[in-house]
Amino acid sequence: MIMSLFQIFIFPGMLFLLVAGLAAEYIDRNLVARFQNRVGPPWFQPLADIIKLAGKENVTVVGSDLQIFRLMPAIALAATITAFFYIPLWGANALFSFNGDLIVVLYLLIIPSLTFFLGGWYSRSVYSMIGAVRALIQLFAYEVPLFLAILAPALLANTWSLSGLTAFYAAHPGLWLVNLLGFGVALVTLLGKLEKVPFDIAEAETEVVAGPFTEYSGQRLAFLRLTMNVETIVASALLAAVFLPFGLNVYPALGLVIFLIKIFFIVFLVALARSLLARLRLDQMIEFCWKYLAPLAFLQLLLNLIVKGALYR
């Protein structure tokens, strides 16, 4: 009982997740700064930002739906943290698992995007409304390729459980190399999910100020910021578990290091995209996702069907 509570709240649960999220933000900001020939913030800056925001006034807009407006940041953070418990980190098994948790994790990770939509829509500001609609349209663009890309490795492993999936790839070392194409697709859609350049359309500051977050301030904005940070870790962990399932059954401390390296690798790629690319327009993003990413994900599916046929012959 106490062990479970410790795992949920301290390690590798909430506290670890929050610290890792802030660390990821620090790494991301510093990498981008270095790429852009800047110095970058000191290590405590992400935490200082959260503390500063938490001490600020909570401004509410006259005419906004207060209940939804207040509730959404908490729901977003809760959903993201919940998803984390079903993802195998450095052992082959997650904290909790059942057959079908892969789908549940994917759906839990949609919830932040939906809360951004609802929170933005009900703040009754034109900028947040347009940003909210953009967030929702964006969801339809990247979610299908992402699902397809994650479906392919699961198909090969013949399981709907993330723990089962990692167990399968641990038993068949080297087989994860088949899924590299899907990994590429998932990485690009991850940029859409985390609303990072080139897909930061919903919160494009030069167009819609801060998109769905325009009217948020104080603690609620701090919660939303934390959600984005935690989502970075959770989504990276998901990708690492599905597409990079190696180094799992080793000494736990070494496993943790390997896990952190995987996360760092994904954060590095996100930072690289942020400093190399310009923001796309919404129509260009939809075109890109459906014209290129979805067919590539289908190609991965086809490939995995063939490999599966060869494997179980």
Binding site: I130, A204, T206, E207, V209, R279, L282
Partner: protein, 402 residues
């Protein structure tokens, strides 16, 4: 025209896309802009009127502060008019020095624009790089004139500061670095796919429209209109220097980027040639305090386009009328044309592509809404104290000496 699905969205007067307060009221259907109206008048400072109360030398320094970026352009355009009224023959060395500072100003303005354009389409790396390199030319200007902006190089009948041998050598060295970097940016602008996606076919302005709507500068040259005051109506030393006018036929934001990058390369050439052929001689001629009556229209190719100054003198120490038209005013008409049937996401870059400078443009204030009356400092203080009292913070007992 206005349908229930349409959303009216104000961009400005305060908005992250805008560097100065101005207002665009857009009607959106989905992400498409169905109509756009521009409202100016948040920056009116009354500089033209203020010039009438000052003598010509004082007015020169005031005119220099019309724009924080093309300050030399405005002061040169004004001083050219006054010198023509006074019948002054400006020494050749002074004319060359004005050209050098003018072109260095163009370099810093275009590098600044390149960064802003990158930022507007979410490509912040370009912003960081170009603004880093802009420091090189800012440092040069600071060494030449003592100031990073508002160089105060011009004076009635010449220039105030000289460029020595050592400084000339340093300028040439810095230009080599800048040229190399500019080539790199030109490479990025013509090869980075996301950037090209965001720039090409955006903000289309046909050559006919460019002429009809009176666009000037890089905006019109990118639509294939071959006009440049430096060549068509040479001033300073431009008549004696070799350079070509950069034009482009893309007619869109991409074309405007190419024109500006091309002009950067030309500017390096002009500065090099001017430094090489810098003639010896005095920096100024003696100028009278009273300027004989008459009127003059002076043109100058500022980085953003043609800058027009009109000065009327009545034989006293003060000008009777000063009128200036900044290039942004000429280009603003074209913006609503460029925005037709575009997406909301294109607005920041389309507006930025004319390189707007709204404080240079504003000539009037319109008061809207029903709030009337004036507020002095005390009223304003009381208002803010009451405002914070409503929020639960009491500042009324605070004793601050103002």
């Amino acid at each position: 025209m206005f349908e229930p699905d349409d959303v009216k969205i104000p961009i400005g007067p305060q908005h992250p896309a805008l560097k100065e307060p101005e207002s665009f009221l857009l009607t959106l259907r989905g992400e498409k802009i169905t109509s756009a109206s521009v409202k100016l008048g948040y920056n009116h400072r009354g500089i033209e009127k203020a010039c009438e109360g000052r003598n010509y030398t004082q007015a020169l320094y005031l005119i220099e502060r019309v724009c924080g970026i093309c300050s030399h352009s405005h002061s040169s355009a004004f001083i050219q008019a006054v010198e023509e009224l006074a019948g002054l023959e400006v020494p050749k060395r002074a004319r060359y020095l004005r050209t050098i500072v003018g072109e260095l100003e163009r370099v810093h303005s275009h590098l600044l624009w390149l960064g802003v354009a990158g930022h507007e389409v979410g490509f912040d790396t370009l912003l960081m790089y170009t603004w880093r390199d802009r420091e090189i030319v800012m440092d040069l200007l600071a060494r030449i004139s003592g100031n990073r902006v508002n160089y105060a190089m011009n004076t009635l009948g010449g220039v105030r500061r000289d460029i020595g041998k050592e400084l000339a050598g340093d300028i040439l060295k810095a230009l080599d670095t800048l040229e190399e970097r500019t080539k790199y940016y030109a490479g990025i602008a013509t090869s980075e796919p996301t950037l090209i996606d965001r720039l090409s076919k955006v903000g289309y302005l046909s050559p006919e429209d460019a002429v009809t709507l009176g666009a000037v500068g890089p905006t019109s040259r990118a639509s294939g209109v071959d006009q440049d005051v430096r060549r068509d109506d040479p001033y300073a030393a431009y008549g004696e220097l070799d350079f070509k006018v950069v034009t482009d036929n893309h007619c869109d934001v991409y074309g405007r980027t190419l024109v500006r990058v091309g002009e950067l390369m030309e500017a390096y050439k002009i500065v090099r040639q001017a430094l090489r052929e810098l003639p010896d001689g005095p920096l100024t001629v003696k100028a009278p305090r009273r300027i004989p009556a008459g009127e003059v229209l002076s043109r100058y190719e500022a980085p953003r386009g043609e800058d027009v100054h009109y000065v009327r003198a009545n034989g006293t120490e003060n000008p009777e009328r000063v009128k200036l038209r900044a290039p942004t005013l000429a280009n603003l008409q074209a913006v609503s044309k460029m925005l037709e049937d575009r997406y909301l996401a294109d607005l920041p870059i389309v507006v930025a592509a004319i390189d707007p400078c709204f404080s240079c443009t504003d000539r009037l204030i319109t008061v809207t809404g029903d709030q009337e009356g004036t507020m002095n400092w005390e009223d304003l203080r009381r208002y803010s104290i009451d405002w914070y009292k409503n929020k639960g913070v009491d500042f009324s007992r605070m004793k601050i000496k103002l």
